[in-house]
């Protein structure tokens, strides 16, 4: 809003001309002022021109505040016209001047004080009361009272009384009327807007207020106290838009009651009534406006706070998202850097390791000058500081033991004689200054000049001492162990068996683990797994003796506990310093009874349909530890389809994980897919538990008690002609047992024997292998499968085809599949008689 006191126009200091709009405004203001004055005079108490509430003053102030002081002529003329009938001309002029000057001064002071016309701050209320009402109105009161004195309307001793009333009336005009007008004029500039929603509340309050005011004023019972709370409530609910009309209403009612000397004012003197009225109105006005401004301020403050909070929240959100982003970025960077560092470290490490592993030295020999140059590493390989002494061929050869020296010289002479660039590789030994022998592998090239004479040799030397030692030891231990372990497992009726042995890949650890399967009388079978402490040749040899001892005792028919007790005795004799863990398990496939005797060995696993579990057997010491320990056996009955897994601790005991964790992992791996065949169990347990190279020997032996419906015939025979008869009897017995007629039986046995004979004749060399025979009933037919594991040679003899011809005649649907792993002959014969399955 432009200042009403500002100077309009381009050039400062030039008073603008009064426009026609201004004239209209002056006229309108004059008419309104006059009307308001007439209204105010109706409330006059003293004479006829001093009233307790002088509305025109408020009107004039509002006009000057909103539209500027140039409208003053309207006020001046109207005031003059109002006063003329009740006084003489000079007094009327004087009074009009005072009535015009006071609101102008009030408006100017308020403008200077930064007064807001919405009166929504406490400071606006204070400014309006202090500057607008109390201070400025001293002007009109003083001038008005002087006019009264000069026109002899009052005596000199009545001057202060008249001044007070005048001053109070004008001040009340400002206090009561100006806020109301301002409130109406700024109605739509105030937030929040008042909707129709609040109309009922406003009407109720209006009714209450009118009722309370009128009742209080017309009643002598001192009921004025009813009014202030009501006005306060209205101010609180509606702020200025409630407070201003309420104050106007209450003040008007009170002033009118006072002027009529009715009700509450009836018993009061003029002065007392005047004082009471002014105090009452001032209190009401000040309280109402103060409260309304306070509420407005609070509301705005709350809104500001809310906005600030919203703003703050928005900024926090934004900042947070920035932080998150930055954090991610940082995390990413850290990861990348860590990865890079790891890679760097690894490659440095690998390089150093590779160099260390390789132990490579380089040399060059100039045949013309005889100069020999060694690389630093070559000195180190020989046990000297790099460049410790100048090198010559003779000096180099001196470091080699006599017998190897000759070989080197022969090798060199041969290379020179052959006139070839490539010098054959040679493995030889050197003696270090401390006497240690090292094994070296030398490679060299010879260079010739254009004439074909040798001029230069270049060579590299690798220290292969560890590799040579290691290779030899490892090879022997592994070979020994493999030789000592069963080549293949026997076939046992009612059981499926599988085993895996994985020698340690690193170090000298191969050696001590073993497993065995021993067919016993009555269809029972003994399963053995064990681990001789220690590794290498010693352990492997102890293992071999133990295995044979256990086998012998088991075959003699000893009870399982006695087999282990005897093994305990054996280890004391063959290796008094050694101990071994072992477990001997006797299985009766028919009843499902499994007898366990453990000796310090990890617990066996039972795999059933619902998963895997450890069979927690009572602990007993390893063999070779507690002389005379009475080993006990523990019987567990297993269902058909259940499996038992035995293993050595190489499967679970790894350096990088705790033993308990190894056991947990093993159980988890064993529990996955409980239905898989035992072959897969062995294979997959090792894959799951030992993904990389085995640091220790691992042996796994798994057994399944086959389901009853699988009454298949399984037979394994050595590929020897003499074994054929045994096979024929076994197969014939099985066929008769499952109800096959004699003629079918005879033909099937013959066909099978022919297939086996072929395998014996063609599949293997002089060191014979084995032939597996499986037979099962299948929907009124018998299928016989003969499997060998050799590679067939060309047919020997002219009439080798007789066998196959026989088979084809006996079992018309015959199939032969040959592969790298052997030959499978599948024969099928539909049975003549019904077969009870």
């Amino acid at each position: 809003m432009t200042s009403p006191f500002g100077i309009r126009g381009d050039r400062p200091g030039v008073v603008p001309r009064i426009s026609r709009d201004d004239l209209v405004a002056i006229l309108v203001l004059g008419v309104l002022y006059y009307a308001a004055a007439r209204l105010g005079l109706r409330l006059a108490i003293v004479e006829d021109n001093i009233t307790p509430l002088w509305p025109p003053t408020g009107l004039a102030l509002v006009a000057f505040l909103r539209y500027g002081w140039r409208l003053w002529p309207g006020v001046a003329i109207a005031a003059f016209l109002v006063n003329l009938p009740i006084t003489n001309v000079p007094a009327a002029v004087l009074t009009a001047a005072g009535n015009t000057l006071a609101p102008i001064v009030a408006a100017w002071l308020l403008e200077r004080a930064g007064f807001r016309q919405q009166i929504d701050r406490v400071r606006d209320v204070v400014a309006l009361v202090g500057l607008g009402a109390l201070l400025s109105m001293t002007i009109s009161a003083t001038i008005g009272s002087i006019a009264l004195l000069l026109s002899s309307r009052i005596a000199l001793d009545g001057f202060w009384g008249a001044w007070t009333v005048w001053w109070a009336g004008d001040a009340m005009g400002i206090l009561v009327v100006a806020p109301f007008l301002l409130c109406v004029l700024t109605w739509n500039q105030v937030e929040p807007k008042l909707g129709l929603r609040r109309l009922p509340e406003a009407l109720v309050m209006l009714a209450l207020l009118i009722g309370a005011s009128v009742f209080a004023m017309w009643n002598t019972g001192q009921l004025l106290f009813l009014v202030p709370p009501l006005v306060g409530w209205i101010a609180w609910r509606f702020q200025l838009r409630g407070a201003a009309p309420a104050v106007l209403l209450v003040s008007t009612v009170a002033a009118w009651a006072a002027s009529q000397m009715v009700g509450w004012f009836a018993d009061l003197s003029l002065t007392e009534g005047m004082l009471t009225l002014q105090l009452f109105n001032a209190t009401i006005a000040f309280t109402a406006f103060f409260l309304s401004a306070l509420v407005s301020e609070r509301t705005r403050a709350r809104e500001r706070l809310q906005r600030a909070a919203d703003d703050l929240e928005g900024r926090v959100r934004q900042r947070t998202s920035q932080l998150v982003e930055a954090n991610e970025h940082l995390g990413h960077e850290i990861t990348e850097r860590r990865d890079a560092e790891t890679k760097l470290r690894r490659s440095e490490h690998e390089l150093a390791e590779a160099q260390d592993l390789a132990r490579l030295g380089r040399w060059e020999w100039d045949l013309g000058s005889g100069t020999v140059t060694w690389s630093d590493d070559l000195y180190r390989i020989h046990g000297y500081a790099p460049g410790a002494f100048p090198m010559t061929f003779e000096k180099a050869v001196e470091l080699v033991p006599e017998e190897d020296r000759q070989r080197i010289e022969r090798n060199l002479a041969a290379a020179l004689a052959m006139h070839r660039r490539e010098v054959p590789d040679i493995e030889y030994r050197i003696v270090r200054p401390d006497g240690e022998l090292r094994a070296l592998l030398g490679r060299a090239r010879m260079f010739f000049d254009d004439a074909g004479s040798p001029v230069r040799m270049l060579g590299v030397v690798q220290d292969v001492t560890e590799r040579v030692d290691y290779d030899r030891q490892h090879r022997i231990a592994e070979t020994l162990q493999r030789a000592l372990l069963p080549q293949d497992l026997p076939m046992v009726d009612g059981l499926a068996l599988a085993a895996r042995y994985l020698p340690a890949e690193v170090g000298f650890k191969a050696g001590g683990d073993w497993y065995d399967v021993i067919p016993l009388v009555g269809g029972r079978v003994g399963l053995v797994i064990g681990d001789v402490a220690g590794h290498g040749l010693e352990a492997a040899s102890v293992m071999g003796q133990l295995r044979m001892a256990v086998r012998a005792y088991a075959l003699e028919g000893h009870r399982p506990a006695d087999v282990v007790a005897h093994a305990d005795s054996v280890i004391r004799v063959v290796a008094p310093d050694e101990i071994a863990t072992m477990m001997y398990v006797e299985v009766d496939p028919a009843s499902g009874a499994v007898r366990f005797v453990g000796a310090g060995h990890p617990p066996p696993i039972a795999i059933e349909a619902e998963g895997a579990r450890y069979l927690e057997l009572p602990k007993q010491p390893p063999i070779g530890v507690a002389a005379g320990w009475a080993y006990e056996e523990f019987v567990v009955d297993i269902e058909r389809g259940a499996k038992v897994v035995l293993y050595t601790d190489g499967l679970i005991d790894r350096r990088d994980i705790a033993l308990e964790e190894g056991l947990e992992r093993l159980l988890a791996a064993a529990g996955t897919d409980p239905g898989r065949p035992v072959e897969a169990v062995c294979r997959e347990l090792i894959t799951a538990l030992v993904p990389g190279e085995a640091a220790d020997d691992i042996a796994v032996l798994a057994m399944e008690r086959l389901p009853v419906r699988d009454e298949a015939f399984r037979f394994r025979m050595p590929a020897e002609p003499a074994e054929l008869a045994r096979m024929r009897r076994a197969l014939g017995g099985w066929l008769r047992g499952v109800g096959v007629e004699p003629e079918d039986t005879n033909d099937l046995v013959l066909a099978c024997a022919e297939a086996c004979s072929n395998a014996i004749r063609h599949a293997y060399g002089p060191s014979a292998g084995t032939v597996d025979i499986e037979a099962h009933l299948d929907d009124g037919a018998v299928e016989v499968v003969v499997r060998d594991f050799g590679r067939w040679r060309q047919r020997r003899g002219q009439d080798g085809g007789r066998g196959l011809a026989l088979i084809e005649a006996l079992a018309p649907s015959m199939r032969v599949e040959r592969s790298e792993r052997g030959t499978v002959v599948t024969m099928r014969r539909t049975l003549r008689g019904a077969v009870s399955v």
Binding site: P721, A722, L724, A725, R802, A809
Partner: protein, 127 residues
């Protein structure tokens, strides 16, 4: 004369009768062949192999018989094989198609007669 537990040889009137027993398979066919060849003198008219007591014979035995027949043929000696009707041996020989190559008889007496009087049956061509 090579002896073999599964072979009993009796020579009478120029006819050698070899009674085989038990099982004949890859494990013993070569030895039985040796025993038979060793048991038939040069002057014998022919050989009767009696399979009546053989409980099992397979292609190894069939091969053996075919080889004997071949060898005896060089020497113009007759081979007759006795395999009773419905016997296991007869069935195997039939399945193997040997009845078209060999002369089969159901009794030793019939075989012996055929050896002594070859005119009753046409001479088989060599090999």
């Amino acid at each position: 004369m090579t002896e073999h537990p599964n072979v009993t040889i009796a020579a009478d009137d120029g006819v050698v009768v070899a009674s085989l027993s038990g099982e004949i398979d890859l494990s013993n066919a070569a030895e039985i062949t040796d025993a038979l060849l060793g048991g038939i003198p040069n002057e014998a008219l022919g050989l009767v192999i009696d399979l009546s007591e053989v409980s099992y014979i397979d292609s190894a035995g069939v091969r053996m018989l075919a080889e004997l027949d071949h060898r005896l043929g060089w020497r113009a000696q007759t081979l007759r094989v006795v395999a009773p009707e419905e016997s296991r041996s007869r069935r195997v020989l039939e399945i193997a198609g040997l009845e078209r190559v060999l002369s089969l008889d159901t009794t030793v007496e019939a075989a012996r007669t055929s050896v002594q009087d070859p005119s009753e049956e046409p001479e088989l061509p060599d090999g």
